[in-house]
């Protein structure tokens, strides 16, 4: 083995001086914070899409404002808003109900996944809206004709098809989530980018650490796009393709 590879393995391996376990732990944190953010984004996205489609004027205005503003500003700004705004809100509650004093900080993980959820929800809302438009009107008319009430139609006919048509777009949203999770490092959460930075700073070898971090991101994105492709194929199995 060449000398640089031995040195690299000693640095990034799982020996007593290796950073391998910490890097993998940080990668797991990246996946955890992105997937919680993605789930919250699905909730916000579904609510916003429902607001847009409900025909209710105020709900539609709120949903449109949400998706337009959030998609027009940097994710980093949303993260700062949630992290510091959440702390300010917590401090206010703390003073109001418990008479406490001083600064109450929001846990970095919570701030991170809420911020990712807020930004990703705006993108998911558009995906859901597009998927809803792709559901054939005839299916809903048929369901109404056999006497299904609205909620049953939503659950049996609309929701499964919206999910099916939304899958490719949701895959893109998940990739956005993963990449946005790197920005959460500004709140101090030790995810992959933060861990690579810390490792690089303490060993004075930024390059190896950041390159390893980037490689781990590539592994995560490649694996998850494979999983989404599988899910898509499974969701489409009942459909005839032209």
């Amino acid at each position: 083995m060449p000398a640089w590879l031995v040195a690299y393995w000693e640095l990034m391996g799982f020996g007593p001086r290796g950073w391998g376990a910490l890097m993998l732990q940080a990668a797991a944190m990246t996946v955890a914070v992105s997937s919680s953010g993605f789930a919250l984004g699905a909730l916000f996205g579904a609510l916003a899409a429902w607001g847009r489609l409900s025909g209710h004027r105020i709900a539609a205005a709120i949903a449109t404002t949400y998706t337009t503003v959030i998609r027009g500003i940097p994710e980093l700004l949303v993260i700062y808003l949630v992290f510091f705004g959440g702390a300010a809100a917590l401090g206010w509650f703390h003073r109001l109900f418990w008479g406490g004093e001083g600064f109450v900080s929001l846990p970095a993980f919570v701030a991170g996944f809420v911020a990712v959820g807020i930004s990703n929800g705006a993108y998911q809302a558009e995906v859901f809206r597009g998927a809803h438009a792709a559901v054939a009107r005839g299916e809903i008319e048929a369901a109404r004709a056999v006497g299904m009430p609205r909620w049953l139609i939503a659950r049996r006919i609309v929701a499964p098809q919206v999910l099916r048509f939304a899958l490719p777009g949701l895959g893109n949203c998940w990739q956005l989530c993963l990449k946005e999770s790197a920005l959460i490092s500004v709140t101090g959460l030790v995810e992959l980018l933060r861990q690579s930075f810390i490792g690089g700073r303490s060993t004075r070898d930024f390059f190896s650490f950041l390159l390893t971090g980037a490689a781990l991101y590539l592994v995560i994105t490649t694996l998850s796009s494979g999983l989404f492709a599988l899910a898509e194929r499974r969701a489409m199995r009942g459909l005839r393709r032209a």
């Binding site: 337009t68 027009g72 700062y80 705004g85 300010a88 790197a182 490092s185 930024f206 950041l210």
Partner: protein, 239 residues
């Protein structure tokens, strides 16, 4: 809402606008050249050109921009070769590091948009041009490029807006732009909403202007899709 503080925030954040705009303009324009180059490599049919372009797109689209920026800013400086190279005066500056990361990143995303536009040119159009005796550069200039440009423009407009948002990451490598200034106010005063509102309004204004400009360019480039002007009313029938 404290209006005096809001005005104060505005005055403190506005000086960051030139940096945001400069980073966007530079990285988008140079990135577009690289994007066209990468798209040409992908479509060349030559494996030796195709694979490096594929690798570039795979790596830059599969990793977060933040880590790319950190790799260039923190990672490259540790090599003696880099510190003694002609590029060192640039790679030492956070501005050029941020520009490099943004530019290489948008080149990767942009190349897919350009490639999609080129692939969307209908075969019939090219065949018809060949039948008329056009070939080579003339065919590209008269037929392929205009059609591909129109097809790629909406997607590229989105990419420009994403780049405006991406310049906010430059604050992570010490550059002073809109998001960095807003974050500084937020983290020193703990008054979140005024600084956030000002920064958000600035980004929304920039992005709105870009979206309108791209839409106008699209309108200007597709006169054949505008439809005939409404016919003048026939005044004889009024009598």
């Amino acid at each position: 809402m404290d209006l005096a503080f809001l005005a104060d925030c505005f005055l403190r954040i506005v000086p960051g606008i030139p940096m945001t705009l400069a980073l966007t303009a530079l990285s988008v324009s140079v990135g577009l050249v690289f994007a066209c180059l990468l798209a040409a490599m992908r479509l060349s049919g030559n494996t030796l050109l195709d694979w490096p372009a594929r690798l570039h797109v795979f790596v830059f689209r599969g990793t977060p921009l933040a880590i790319q920026m950190f790799l260039i800013y923190f990672g490259l400086a540790q090599f003696e070769v880099v510190r003694t190279s002609v590029l060192w005066p640039y790679l030492r500056e956070p501005f050029w590091c941020a520009f490099g990361a943004l530019m290489l990143n948008t080149a990767a995303y942009g190349s897919e948009i350009v490639r999609g536009g080129l692939l969307a040119v209908p075969c019939g159009e090219v065949e018809a041009a060949r039948a008329c005796g056009m070939s080579g550069f003339l065919l590209f200039r008269r037929i392929v490029a205009p059609i591909a440009l129109r097809r790629a423009l909406p997607g590229y407009g989105n990419e420009i807006i994403l780049m405006v948002k991406a310049t906010s990451l430059a604050s992570m490598v010490t550059l002073v732009e809109v998001t960095g200034l807003a974050a500084r106010i937020i983290s020193t005063t703990y008054r979140v909403f005024e600084a956030f509102a000002v920064a958000a309004a600035i980004y929304l204004a920039i992005n709105f202007a870009i979206a309108r400009a791209v839409a106008a360019l699209e309108w200007w480039l597709s006169p054949h899709l505008r439809g005939a002007p409404p016919p003048a009313p026939d005044l004889r029938l009024a009598h």
